[in-house]
């Protein structure tokens, strides 16, 4: 789906992404891990042009992403879920999910409501349709956000640290929804600190540091036999000093 060559992004003189080259295939689930400030989120946000790259090329299904491209089109096919949910506070849960299909795709109201109710059922919140976001827990809000993204029937979903703003006991309800999506064959790129999820659910794990991809591979390789010293250090730290050598 995506082919990325030598992608660069800097803010003024600060280089956040120095050179990223990778491909993302249809149906793949990729987890991007790495320390804070390594450029993971920036990379993800370049994929749907929330950030404009300052160098290199991104091809989406063979089309180069540049300023001539209709980014609205791209974003309909590549949805995104944020760390802080970003639900629309003035709308009910149902309207949050229905809103974009109705006003972007011009789906009829009945049809949009049907899709929305199905999706809410799917994320386990069928009974919360009439509630407002502020009345929900973080985990519930994030599940609504996933339903909202799915309502546009995207081909791929980007997750930007979807569980980082959640209380620990709410993390699993969100991860379970994501696991189900995987079973249905949804392509996903997930920036996460949930190493368990990365190890068990992803097809490929990408370890980023300081604006580069340090190492990528199957989860078993990365977690059990990391080749790079930097990867080992990072994993040792986040996995509580357990050595995998």
């Amino acid at each position: 789906m995506f082919n990325i060559f030598d992608l660069k992004k800097s803010y003024g003189k600060t280089e956040v992404l120095k050179s990223i080259t990778m491909r993302i295939d249809d149906g793949e689930v990729i987890c991007i891990i790495g320390p804070s400030g390594s450029g993971k989120s920036t990379f993800l946000r370049c994929l749907n042009l929330l950030e404009e790259p300052t160098g290199g090329q991104i091809y989406y299904n063979g089309t180069i992403l540049d300023n001539t491209l209709d980014s609205k089109r791209l974003r309909r096919e590549v949805g995104m879920v944020f760390q802080k949910f970003n639900l629309f506070p003035m709308f009910t849960v149902l309207k949050n999910v229905m809103y974009a299909p109705m006003h972007v795709k011009h789906t009829g109201k009945k049809e949009a409501e049907k899709i929305a109710r199905n999706l809410l059922e799917k994320v386990g919140l069928g009974n919360k349709a009439a509630a407002y976001p502020a009345q929900l827990s973080g985990g519930q809000q994030q599940r609504v956000a996933i339903a909202r993204a799915l309502a546009m029937q995207p081909k791929m979903l980007l997750f930007d640290e979807p569980t980082s703003a959640l209380d620990p006991e709410l993390v699993n309800e969100v991860l379970n929804v994501m696991k189900n999506l995987r079973k249905e064959g949804m392509s996903m790129v997930v920036v996460t600190h949930e190493m368990g999820f990365a190890r068990d659910v992803s097809d490929r794990v990408v370890f980023m540091d300081k604006g580069f991809i340090v190492e990528e591979g199957r989860p078993a390789e990365i977690f059990n036999h990391p080749k790079q010293e930097r990867t080992q250090q990072f994993l040792n730290r986040v996995l509580g000093g357990v050595s995998y050598e």
């Binding site: 929330l50 974003r75 949805g79 506070p89 809103y99 009345q135 546009m152």
Partner: protein, 237 residues
């Protein structure tokens, strides 16, 4: 003392002035209604222009705001009513046409109020837009909305909600500032009172009634706004 008070003729003054003032309220409400709606629209566009416009638009709006905020409303009203038609006629004459453009007093008054208040309100609206979480715009963008669609559908409703109380204060101020329209020949409350007082010499009575009429207009309105503010802050979000 008693003798002096007996020289006041509130009843007689009321008989002739109050019906006239009641007619004047219509003019005040008309000027405020259209003035405020236009001011809000102008304010929204100035705010958006200053936040998202091209550099040249931003620069132009900056200068425009400085000019409007650096001159008194009364001067602006006089300028629109007396000077603008003269300028138009002058330009027309330069192009070889003979014109006699005049602006209706009420139209000039409404235009002046709208432009002046629009500039002040734009700052409040701008602050309200900036205060909406950045994630709201991003959420709308990733769902496929365009920037301006997102602004009007998602951002503005949230921004307006937080700025309605301050806009309400501008509404009350505008009702009182319609008294300035007397100077561009709008037959509103002040002008009616002046005319009446100069004809009858019931000066004390006339201006006391005038003040009362403004109180009757503005006090209930400002309480309404407080009520709306309370309702907004206690409703869910």
């Amino acid at each position: 003392m008693n003798n002096l008070l007996s020289q006041l003729h509130f009843a007689t003054a009321a008989e002739y002035l109050v019906p006239s003032l009641i007619h004047g309220i219509g003019v005040v409400l008309e000027a405020t209604f259209f003035g405020f709606i236009l001011a809000t629209i102008i304010g929204i566009f100035i705010a958006i222009g200053r936040l998202f416009g091209w550099k040249i638009v931003k620069a132009f709006l900056y200068v425009f705001l400085e000019v409007i905020r650096g001159t008194p409303l009364l001067v602006q009203l006089v300028y629109i009513y007396y000077v603008v038609p003269l300028i138009i006629n002058l330009f027309a004459a330069m192009l070889g046409y003979k014109t006699d453009v005049q602006i209706d007093p009420l139209v000039a008054g409404i235009a002046g109020l709208a432009i002046n208040y629009g500039c002040y309100m734009s700052e409040v609206i701008r602050a309200g837009i900036v205060a909406v979480d950045k994630g709201q715009m991003e959420a709308a963008l990733v769902l496929g909305f365009g920037r301006y669609e997102a602004l009007f559908r998602i951002i503005m409703p949230q921004a307006l909600r937080s700025i309605i109380p301050s806009l309400g204060n501008y509404l009350v101020m505008m009702i009182k500032d319609t008294s300035l329209l007397a100077y561009v020949a709008v037959n509103e409350l002040l002008l009616r009172t002046q005319t009446f007082a100069s004809q009858t010499f019931y000066t004390i009575e006339a201006y006391t009634y005038l003040a009362l009429f403004y109180l009757i207009l503005s006090v209930p309105l400002s309480h309404c706004i407080k009520f709306i503010e309370y309702k907004l802050s206690s409703s869910n979000r």
